[in-house]
């Protein structure tokens, strides 16, 4: 029985207790990723050593970068008496040795179940003088048995607002806009910032992992690379004119918290993947800059549209299987629909309100041709069963699709998190007009490679 032949077609058996080959991972890794998007922040995993080690390994495998984080090193003792002593020691040690500006504590299933009260322990640390002047400890509750890695990202991003954002004046600062980018690559964050600056805005992006997890080689070990949102910026977010939250699951909670705390108006929209979604993002920014769109952005848009036109004949009617994070899936689906491809199978293990409704909106009258599943047991095994019963033309998602791609010999574009088997993806954005160009090129390349491979000699052609 080979690995690749485990999944069989036929009736799709409904499982209740078992997840096979998950399309998600747990909250803390998302929290760690978000925390790395604060400048001079050291994430801290309040739990067993393994958690921290697994998250750091996963981030290193995906970004090919060192991922720094401290561990609570829980023992039997801590699990009986609570993790207060561990956290106090950790705070002292980390500020002494690693000198971060911020320690971002996230919990684990262990410390959550024990019931450690992180704010109370942190206060205790401040009372004991363990937190140096001008340094901070923030936290997010990220039990692994609730939600998934995007939830953890959302929780830590919200913590940035809860701990730092301040409203310091009556009127808001014109053109200062908060952008919450969602769980995207460092290159995506850089691209979103570039667009905002081109629009004449003064963006505060949080979190911002660009310059942290795609940092250059400097010849020294940089505990804290140059990138990341600063504390001052996070404080100043409270005076911004507007918050634009990209992705309701990952960015929505922080935007809402910022409105509640500092009355910064917010717009939550999908990730700017594809032409229509990027248009929406640009229009949102246009409403803040006095109503102009610079030539450079119009030019980029025009080029994307031109490319879509050049390519559309090849995409017609192709069906796609997608898996990954809800915000990404909605964006990708919209992009695919815009070039007449059908997101036929969509699977996410991550819970999130309104995902199914959002997918329904995107799919429109094609909704009856698609299988969309969310939550526990919405895993790669289920997707594979669907594909066995009725194949599709393309796979798009993280590394975990490679087994299906090989077993069923389906063209495959890697997208999302994690990508553990390719290098370089972290440098190329998939958001904005430029990002869409890259995604479409990737899709068409694998489809045409397949056509070249499969076509008989007589129809194997030089021009396509």
């Amino acid at each position: 029985m080979s690995l690749l032949r485990h999944t069989k077609g036929g009736e799709v058996h409904e499982r209740q207790a078992l997840t096979v080959n998950p399309a998600k991972t747990c909250q803390p890794v998302g929290a760690m990723y978000a925390a790395l998007g604060i400048h001079k922040c050291l994430p801290h995993s309040h739990g067993s050593q393994g958690c921290c080690s697994y998250h750091r390994s996963t981030l290193s495998r995906h970004y090919k970068e060192p991922a720094m984080a401290g561990t609570g090193s829980f023992t039997e003792g801590s699990s009986v008496f609570g993790g207060q002593a561990n956290l106090l020691t950790a705070i002292e040690n980390m500020f002494t040795l690693y000198k971060p500006d911020v320690i971002a504590v996230h919990t684990t299933c262990l410390s959550e179940t024990i019931g450690d009260d992180i704010p109370q322990i942190t206060e205790n640390a401040i009372d004991k003088g363990l937190v140096p002047e001008g340094k901070f400890v923030i936290h997010a509750n990220t039990p692994s048995y609730v939600g998934a890695h995007p939830t953890g990202f959302a929780n830590m991003t919200k913590a940035m607002v809860d701990y730092f954002a301040k409203s310091t004046r009556e009127d808001k600062v014109a053109r200062r806009v908060n952008i919450i980018p969602g769980y995207v690559e460092p290159a995506d964050m850089a691209e979103i910032k570039r667009l905002a600056k081109l629009m004449g805005l003064d963006p505060i992006m949080f979190p911002d992992t660009s310059g942290v997890l795609d940092a250059p080689q400097t010849g020294v070990h940089e505990m804290y690379p140059a990138g990341g949102v600063t504390i001052d910026e996070l404080i100043a977010a409270g005076d911004a004119q507007q918050t634009i939250a990209l992705g309701p699951v990952c960015s929505g909670p922080a935007a809402k918290a910022l409105y509640a705390k500092c009355k910064v108006p917010q717009t939550t929209m999908g990730l700017p993947i594809g032409l229509a979604a990027t248009d929406k993002f640009v229009m949102a920014m246009r409403s803040l800059n006095g109503g102009f769109v610079p030539e450079e952005i119009k030019y980029e848009r025009g080029r994307l549209l031109d490319l879509m036109t050049d390519m559309h004949q090849y995409f017609y009617g192709k069906s796609v299987a997608l898996w990954g994070d809800p915000d990404q899936l909605v964006g990708l689906s919209e992009l695919l629909m815009s070039v007449d491809m059908l997101p036929k199978y969509v699977v996410t293990g991550t819970p999130g309100k309104k995902f199914l409704k959002r997918m329904g909106d995107v799919l429109g009258d094609k909704v009856h041709e698609s299988f969309v599943r969310q939550g526990p047991c919405a895993d790669m095994y289920l997707m594979h069963q669907w594909i066995k019963n009725e194949p599709c033309d393309l796979l798009m998602g993280n590394t975990y699709g490679k087994y299906i791609a090989r077993d069923d010999d389906i063209p495959y574009v890697r997208h999302g998190f994690p990508i553990l088997d390719r290098v370089g993806h972290q440098y190329f954005p998939t958001v904005g007009y430029k990002g869409a160009i890259r995604v479409l090129e990737q899709i068409l390349n694998v489809l045409m490679d397949r056509q070249d491979r499969d076509s008989p000699e007589e129809t194997f052609e030089l021009t396509m």
Binding site: M1, S2, A17, L18, T19, N21, P22, K24, T25, C26, Q27, V29, L42, G47, S48, Q49, G50, C51, S53, Y54, R56, S57, T58, S60, R61, K64, P66, A67, M68, A69, G70, T71, G72, S73, T75, S79, I91, E92, N93, T96, L97, Y98, T108, C109, L110, T113, I114, P143, S144, Y145, A148, Q217, T218, G219, V220, H221, M223, P376, C377, Y400
Partner: protein, 509 residues
């Protein structure tokens, strides 16, 4: 030796260590050797270590016809899904990820029912030879009676369902090894041993990464030994069941399998010996010692013949590679300390000096032995972190780091070559063939032209040009067919220095 002074000063002056960690770092030769180890990591350290669950999971994972079910929230299953290149010659069931994906309500009401359902469903579907059920942190905390569930399912299905007590917080990775050994102990002794010959062994502690178990097994079989079971590389449940029928346990990887060897000695009287399969010296010694154990002349003769043939086969290329590597410096950071011994020797074979040697889980005996093996001035580390590692590498001017997934980007950021000797190695590094692969990997990274662009090397070039240091000049980026090993040592000759400092393109003149 001048390296000694430089490095001692490095520790004292330039690197800030946590007070509680000071005893876990020592420089060979600078003081009576007495390293602290086997300690829980200090809270707040950026440790490279993992947990109990991780230890059990990596050890049992290669048993490829068993079901491996992770009882806990999804993370523990996601992170260990097909991450270890332990190859199987048959079933691939071990590479699937099965999880009970515990949710909040399960944490409140308990996960036993869910586990039972999942197991019944899986066993009906896959009909495995046995099932391992791993406990994660949360299971220990909410008090699920995993033993009872496993017993029930076992009784109902007739399949051995073995609980692995691997709650993450219950110790270190090493305790996970021990939990795995206890699980294996439940299988050993349940199979028929009537077809086992007296000249027979079990291979313990090799995990068949890159097909290493196959290479080792082949050596032993060529010697004339029957290999009863391989635990756990390319492992099979039925082979493990009859492992007690073998006359000797040959144990590699000091941490993970010593436990099982001891249990088998106690229960069945099976003697065991420690070996390593990395490097020519250790590989040959392993074969000879096993032959010695049986006191069989034919075995020894065949081992000698094989060693001679193999060494002759790989030596020409090794010699060639050594010319390029002579005088380079390496840092080693491994999971267990035992592997570090072999690596120090293997590197010596290649003309590479070890400047830093450390492990995640070594014990006092390991480190003492490691220190004896290393040159004066070598820094010995227990449970280190990226900050220390990076500083030591720079201050000892090390050219190569050997480690695992978390160490790789640290090396690359510094502009230092890297060789993965952990789960993510793709080539067989064991045996004679493996020594050659190891040499090629080290050579490939160390002599890559990319380093000539790296800022660390650039700075170094400037430093070598101006400083009074009596250290060996670096030759990382130098095509070494131009600079012979003899010419680079000592480092006094100005004319040679001048050539060395100019830059790769001009050096070739």
């Amino acid at each position: 030796m001048n390296g000694h002074n430089i490095m001692t000063t490095a520790i004292e002056n330039n690197i800030r260590l946590l007070e509680a960690r000071k005893a876990q770092v020592q420089t060979k030769g600078s003081e009576p050797f007495n390293i602290a180890c086997e300690k829980q990591s200090v809270a707040g350290s950026v440790s490279q270590r993992a947990c109990v669950f991780c230890g059990s999971r990596v050890v049992l994972y290669p048993i490829c016809d068993a079901l491996h079910v992770i009882h806990g929230p999804i993370g523990c299953a996601s992170y260990t899904w097909d991450i270890r290149g332990s190859v199987s010659s048959g079933p691939q069931l071990h590479r699937m990820s099965f999880s009970t994906d515990l949710q909040e309500k399960d944490v409140i009401y308990g996960g036993e029912k869910k586990l039972e359902k999942a197991l019944l469903e899986l066993i009906a579907h896959y009909n495995p030879k046995a099932a391992f059920v791993y406990a994660t942190c949360i299971v220990g905390l909410i008090g699920d009676d995993m033993d009872a569930v496993c017993r029930r399912v076992s009784a109902r299905t007739g399949i051995d369902v073995i609980p692995v007590q691997s709650e993450g917080f219950a110790g270190s990775k090493k305790d996970g090894y021990s939990a795995a050994c206890h699980a294996l102990d439940q299988l050993v002794g349940t199979g028929d041993t009537s077809d086992i010959k007296p000249l027979s062994i079990n291979i313990l502690g090799d995990f068949n990464i890159g097909g290493e178990t196959w290479v080792i097994k082949d050596y032993y079989e060529k010697m004339g030994l029957q290999v009863v079971s391989t635990i756990t590389g390319d492992g099979r449940v039925d082979d493990i069941r009859k492992a007690h029928g073998a006359s000797l346990n040959v144990v590699q990887c000091s941490g993970s399998m010593k436990g099982l060897a001891r249990m088998m000695k106690e229960k069945y009287g099976t003697p065991f010996m420690h070996v390593s399969y990395f490097g020519i010296e250790d590989m040959s010694r392993a074969l000879y010692e096993v032959a010695d154990h049986f006191g069989d002349k034919d075995l020894l003769k065949r081992a000698q013949d094989m060693v001679r043939d193999e060494v002759m086969r790989i030596m020409p290329e090794l010699r060639k590679i050594r010319q390029d590597l002579e005088g380079k410096k390496a840092a080693i950071y491994t999971g267990g300390a035992f592997k570090a011994f072999s690596l120090v020797r293997s590197l010596r074979t290649l003309g590479v000096q070890t400047t830093i040697a450390g492990s995640q889980t070594g014990n006092p005996t390991d480190y003492k032995q490691l220190a004896e093996l290393c040159d004066d001035g070598t820094i010995i580390l227990d449970d280190t972190n990226p900050l220390e590692l990076a500083k030591f590498i720079q201050e000892t001017d090390t050219d190569l780091l050997i480690g695992g997934v978390k160490e790789r980007p640290i090396a690359y950021k510094l502009g230092v070559a890297f060789c993965d000797h952990n789960h993510e190695r793709k080539d067989c590094l064991a045996g004679f063939e493996g020594m050659l692969n190891f040499a090629r990997e080290v050579h490939g990274s160390l002599c890559s032209p990319v380093w000539k662009f790296s800022p660390f090397r650039q700075k170094h070039k400037e430093a070598v040009g101006s400083s009074q240091t009596t250290e060996k000049p670096k030759a990382t980026y130098i095509p070494t067919n131009v600079i012979k090993p003899g010419e680079t040592s000592g480092g006094g000759g100005e004319s040679k220095f001048a050539t060395l400092t100019i830059g790769a393109t001009e050096v070739a003149k």
